[in-house]
Assembly symmetry: C2
Homo-oligomer: 452 residues x 2
């Protein structure tokens, strides 16, 4: 119900926005957008067709501030940036936190990047450039450089006095990072705990157990894992010398977690991992063709196996009727195992420590399911074709293929992971190629040996 209502509201809103844009009525557009959160305005812009988007931006350009700009999806960001007047863009960029500016400019070419960074004052620009010096998808790119620090010998009273007197404090902060004289972080204190404690307690006494630093070179997937695993709200980021260079807050980590999920799910399905609902036809085709091309090659491999048994099929056409069932069951069982393995690797529930045990479990599950569905398929085949030999053949092929599915489904992602590749990438194609080839080979081979 709530969803329905929201959907209707969104549609009403879209209609009002469309009407205002068409009429060139800026006042009506402002009225429609005024109550909206910047994230929702950005979503609305993403949902427009490219033509409507251009009309929208022409009318509303100076309404695009830093909050909206930092929410715009990568897939249409360049398009939006190009259409914003220089002055609007400069104002928007100046409003943004350093980590949002990094996110905005990191995919631009040098000239465009320089143009945008020129809007910043020297200090902010230096912060952004420091972040950009770290590798893509690293903690250094995620962090914001604005950090509140204090020495650990300070008392609560002094820390509160300092914060109360300080002119400059970040928009959002939840901790004070405790640093030694060389700016190595040694702990942190939550603001809640600070406020709740005796005035004469030292910050050292209030430091949280959960304290841990993150290397600026850590991969962002690692950052998301650490935040999720240890329920962190923010974490100090350090350089190679363990010196404090910034801080990552949980809202950024949550966004990374969401993006990592998206990547896993899209890669498993063989869709380019940057695809989004607002992509154009050509972008979509470009993302999907490579995987379909890989699939046509693996499908041809499976077809070659069948071609090898053309004579057998010519003698007993029932083989052609039944063979896709063996392959399909293998493909499904393999995908099940594969998905559990990919997910286990992503959450680190699957590691070298228990890999052997999981492989053993999958093999037993594969055998159990193989025997179960093998018997069922044998019974169906017996009833359908009245041929006990054929029934025995399909039952045996099913057992073999579900066993192969289990092995391929667990060993291929473990192997890719071992090699340092993303196990979600291409695993699906490899696994179904295995189950297709082995499925046809086992069924048609056994049939040739036993029946003909």
């Amino acid at each position: 119900m709530a969803d329905e209502n929201r959907a209707t509201e969104t549609d009403d809103l879209l209609d009002r926005v469309d009407a205002a844009v068409e009429a060139g009525d800026r006042a009506a557009l402002d009225a429609a957008l005024e109550p909206m959160h910047p994230a929702d305005i950005a979503d609305l812009i993403e949902r427009l067709t490219p033509g409507d988007r251009r009309a929208f931006l022409t009318l509303y350009a100076d309404g695009i501030d830093g909050d909206v700009l930092s929410e715009i999806d990568e897939s249409i960001r360049e398009e939006v940036l190009e259409q914003l007047p220089r002055a609007v863009l400069d104002d928007a960029v100046r409003e943004m936190d350093s980590d949002d500016v990094v996110d905005l400019v990191e995919d631009l070419d040098d000239a465009e990047r320089a143009l945008i960074l020129a809007a910043l004052d020297a200090g902010d620009r230096a912060a952004v450039q420091q972040s950009l010096a770290y590798p893509e998808y690293s903690a250094g790119r995620l962090m914001q450089s604005e950090v509140v620090t204090a020495p650990e010998h300070w008392t609560v009273a002094r820390a509160i006095q300092f914060l109360r007197a300080e002119e400059w404090l970040p928009e959002q902060f939840y901790h004070i990072v405790l640093v030694d004289p060389r700016r190595h972080p040694v702990g942190y204190v939550t603001l809640g705990r600070l406020l709740a404690s005796r005035s004469d307690a030292t910050l050292r006494e209030l430091a949280e157990d959960s304290f841990r630093t993150i290397s600026a070179f850590a991969e962002e997937a690692e950052v998301a894992y650490v935040f999720n695993q240890y329920h962190l709200i923010s974490a100090p980021v350090v350089d190679r010398d363990d010196r404090l260079v910034g801080v990552i807050t949980i809202d950024d980590a949550m966004q990374v977690l969401d993006e990592e999920h998206e990547e896993d799910i899209l890669r498993l399905a063989g869709v380019g991992d940057e695809s989004s609902i607002s992509d154009s036809v050509m972008q979509t085709v470009r993302q999907r063709v490579p995987w379909l091309a890989t699939n046509i090659v693996t499908a041809l491999a499976a077809a070659s196996v069948i071609a090898f048994f053309e004579d057998a099929i010519a003698q007993l056409v029932a083989l052609a009727v039944l063979m896709p069932i063996v392959a399909s069951m293998g493909g499904n069982a393999g995908t099940q195992t594969l998905t559990v393995a990919v997910r286990g690797l992503a959450t680190r529930d699957l590691s070298r420590a228990n890999a052997l045990r999981v492989v053993r479990r999958e093999v037993i599950v594969g055998l159990t399911n193989g025997v179960f569905f093998g018997v069922i398929m044998a019974a169906i085949t017996w009833v359908w074709f009245r041929d006990p030999g054929l029934a025995a053949v399909i039952g045996s092929a099913m057992i073999i293929n579900l066993l192969v599915a289990a092995l391929a489904g667990i060993l291929i992602p473990l192997g890719l992971n071992k090699l340092g590749a993303d196990p979600a990438l291409a695993s699906g194609t490899f696994v179904t190629m295995m189950t297709d080839v082995i499925g046809f080979l086992a069924f048609l081979g056994l049939a040739t040996a036993v029946l003909l």
Copy 2:
């Protein structure tokens, strides 16, 4: 590299824990576990085999505190609870936040639940029972009832003074919720902003723009969406009368986001959505059999289509060789579209507002890919079988099936969503059944009409 190191460390640690448990050496076990975070201890317990787990818990029972207990995965929670001595369990439960106790007891039967709640004092027990009165998977179950509130006319100085003097404050809090005299939340102030502001400013002036309340009856998926979309750190939860009943913090929302994603990815693969790497063989078989059983039915439907064309295959065995390629390409293309659609629905990027446009795009993409791969397969077939008629047939069948794949891949999840069902559930089976049946039908039907 970091991952490798960590993996090795984890394995070393597991070896030390194993050795200590085997030797019954509690001191060595304490030494191994002492530096570990409770979340990591919980993971370690999950990774043990059931037998090792029993030995571990016998030796380490009184080491299990509230922090470890609240991190233990649902799949082994009951097993662990049964093995803990009463006194240890009571102490652990008393240490936990109300939302963690709710999470711990919500799946237990009434008797077990009462036993655990008996450990709490009356006030805490009432808070847990209030949460449990809300539906499963609702915001009411996620929230903690400990909230710091203040009237909005207070000045900064007064609020700070209040917090400094207050005896009781929650472990973690990041905002003060502003309430009116009837306890309706009207805004919130971050602690950082409070500390950074003039002493005579009122809390009303400092309230955040991003303020929004969450209904205790909202689904937890909705909670995760709202936190992620609006970058919330915490949000007040209200009852039907808009009265404040608790607060949800982002770390809980992040965990829900992670679980929702797990559900999507596992459902898309046809694996029961509660499966985990530590499940036993029998649990795993039970989760996977229903989907394989569904698949055998759909595979039989596809086989029946083939059986209908037995005579055609007997005349031209090449048909049997090529038909799986048409089906396989359709299955892959359908899964691509399906995954993008399921993901789009989950992130709300796909809604009624743009559904028509996305359907149109998918149809054009399906046709484009169909023509592209149809031409390629026609060329390959011509070279392979030297039969221009067969080449034309497979090319046409490919176009038809990739078009059907696109339609099925987008319309089936949209339809399930419209009906209020999870689009990730069962979509995969429906889509591949469509592409298998239509793939075989189009290819064999065209071949019969044109070639024979």
